[in-house]
């Protein structure tokens, strides 16, 4: 398989075209939780996809930023997927979602405090030990300013140093958070520990209907904005060639349209000028 360049988030409706796609460097990412099932067509589909393309598992439910240790059953299910599908990347979020018996289907914000750093690093160590591989941690989108002992790049750097994990930098989340909390996105990218970055996400965002442009939502339901493309170029300049993943969860376009958007990321990675057909 070719060296992974730019990939797309896989959806079952893309299966036939995804299998047949000939684009060099194309890879796919799936949400691990969608495949935590005992058997059947979902896993068969993933097996077929994995046979022809590099695969990344992106978790949304380990609640690494919570006070509780990662749920044993959930971690065992993730390990089962990792062992079976041998993904080239495994990632999770700097977020929490579990509290007691309840799981909120969202990525809730982590205050960047000393205690939170201890919890997050403990939980990442548990996960990496269980999986037997490094994971990447994704920076969140922000809508509310919380108490913080560190700037986020420094907090991510401390997490990486203490656990040996890598970083997944979502430049759309950077754009959204910088807009909402009023900081400079390029300064943020410059301050990241670039050598630790193992993957980059790009996606679209929308304006909040009530707050307008002052509040951007990490909606994943529109094409990537020009501002995010510029941030991707900036981050590639800082960090060099990294696997880039185009996310899209709402108003899902045709596979062809998604690939055309993905090819713009390939052009940035290879330094080529993309000419419209």
């Amino acid at each position: 398989m070719a060296h992974p360049t730019a990939g797309v988030a896989f959806k079952p409706q893309y299966f036939d075209e995804a299998i047949a796609a000939s684009a060099a460097g194309l890879w796919f990412e799936v949400h691990a939780e969608n495949y935590m099932v005992a058997g059947g067509p979902r896993l068969a589909m993933l097996e077929a996809l994995r046979a022809v393309r590099p695969l990344s598992l992106h978790g949304v439910g380990l609640s690494l930023g919570g006070t509780e240790r990662p749920d044993r059953d959930h971690l065992a299910a993730l390990k089962h997927l990792v062992d079976r599908f041998q993904p080239f990347l495994v990632s999770e979020h700097l977020a929490w979602s579990r509290i007691g018996e309840r799981c909120l289907p969202d990525l809730l914000p982590v205050p960047r405090t000393r205690e939170a750093l201890e919890m997050v690093t403990r939980n990442i160590n548990i996960v990496q030990d269980a999986l037997g591989c490094q994971i990447l941690i994704e920076n969140p989108a922000h809508y509310i300013a919380l108490g913080a002992d560190w700037d986020e790049p420094d907090f991510l750097c401390a997490i990486a140093r203490q656990t040996g994990c890598g970083l997944l930098i979502d430049v759309n989340n950077v754009a959204v958070a910088a807009n909402n909390l009023g900081y400079d996105a390029e300064d943020y990218l410059a301050a990241l520990p670039h050598a630790d970055i193992g993957e980059i996400h790009i996606a679209g965002h929308s304006m909040d209907p009530a707050f307008g442009a002052s509040l951007l939502i990490d909606s994943h339901d529109v094409p990537v904005s020009d501002s995010v493309w510029r941030l991707l170029e900036t981050l590639i300049d800082f960090a060099g060639d990294r696997p880039v993943l185009l996310e899209r969860d709402g108003n899902v376009p045709s596979f062809g349209d998604l690939m055309a958007e993905r090819n713009r990321a390939v052009a940035i990675l290879t330094g080529k000028v993309l000419v419209d057909a």
Binding site: V37, G40, H74, P105, T113, E115
Partner: protein, 245 residues
């Protein structure tokens, strides 16, 4: 900044609408709620189609409030939705709705059950009646079936066809069998005899025991035909003669 556990409990309280929340907390509230509602709609598509978007959202909001997700694996969220529906006023107008919800649930279970070989009926050529009779026939892990006092199976099956305009099922008790063959889910209506045979096999009865019990309950039904339906449906994973046990 309070300790992390206190912060997180307080944040969930704000999401749930307790306390004076920053208006921006509504973003997390909306995302959490939408995640659960979308999962319930994905997992109960026939219920959602029958009642329509507005009514489904109203029902789902009430269910999610009482039974929020307990796992990040939302593909299986909504266990108990059929039982919960049973106690809702809407059952007065749509008395088959909880049955339809249960079949939606069975379909999810069929889709996600462990993989296993299916029994190939051709392998049974040459077995004599006595060997058949003394054999156990474990169900395939993906096999699900149910019996309903209302025609929920007919109504559910009719909604598999997106062009269905009007449904006028015969108002009678009936069953449904869902199997998984080559990763395709196959659903079919079954009668009381097939349901009794499947129930017996699930409990570990031999084919002879299941046949005898079914014939006693339904003496007017052709048991051989009922067995053939079960055998050819993909419901069984193997046939084990007691001689080999």
């Amino acid at each position: 900044m309070p300790d992390l556990a206190t912060f997180q409990r307080h944040f969930v309280d704000l999401i749930d609408g307790y306390g004076d929340a920053d208006p921006l907390v509504s973003i997390y509230r909306n995302t959490s709620l939408k995640g659960a509602l979308d999962a319930l709609a994905d997992n109960y598509p026939t219920v959602a189609t029958i009642v329509g978007h507005e009514v489904f959202v109203r029902l789902a909001l009430a269910f999610v409030g009482e039974h929020p997700p307990g796992s990040p694996v939302l593909a299986v969220y909504g266990v108990g939705f059929a039982d919960w529906l049973e106690h809702q006023p809407i059952m007065g107008d749509l008395p088959y709705l909880s049955g339809v919800a249960l079949i939606d649930r069975l379909r999810t279970e069929t889709s996600m059950a462990p993989d296993a070989d299916l029994l190939d009926p051709a392998r049974l050529a040459g077995w004599d009646v006595e060997k058949w009779s003394r054999s156990a026939a474990p169900l395939h892990p993906a096999t699900r079936f149910g019996w309903f006092t209302v025609p929920a199976p007919s109504i559910w099956l009719a909604h598999l066809d997106p062009d269905t305009a009007e449904i006028a099922p015969e108002w009678r008790a009936e069953g449904i069998l869902l199997t998984r063959v080559d990763h395709e889910i196959v659903a079919r209506r079954i009668g009381a005899a097939e349901h009794r045979i499947l129930s017996g096999l699930r409990l570990g009865e031999t084919i002879g025991e299941a046949a005898a019990a079914t014939a006693k309950l339904y003496p007017h039904i052709d048991i051989a035909t009922a067995f053939r339906t079960v055998l050819e449906s993909g419901a069984l994973s193997s046939l084990r003669s007691k001689e080999f046990q």
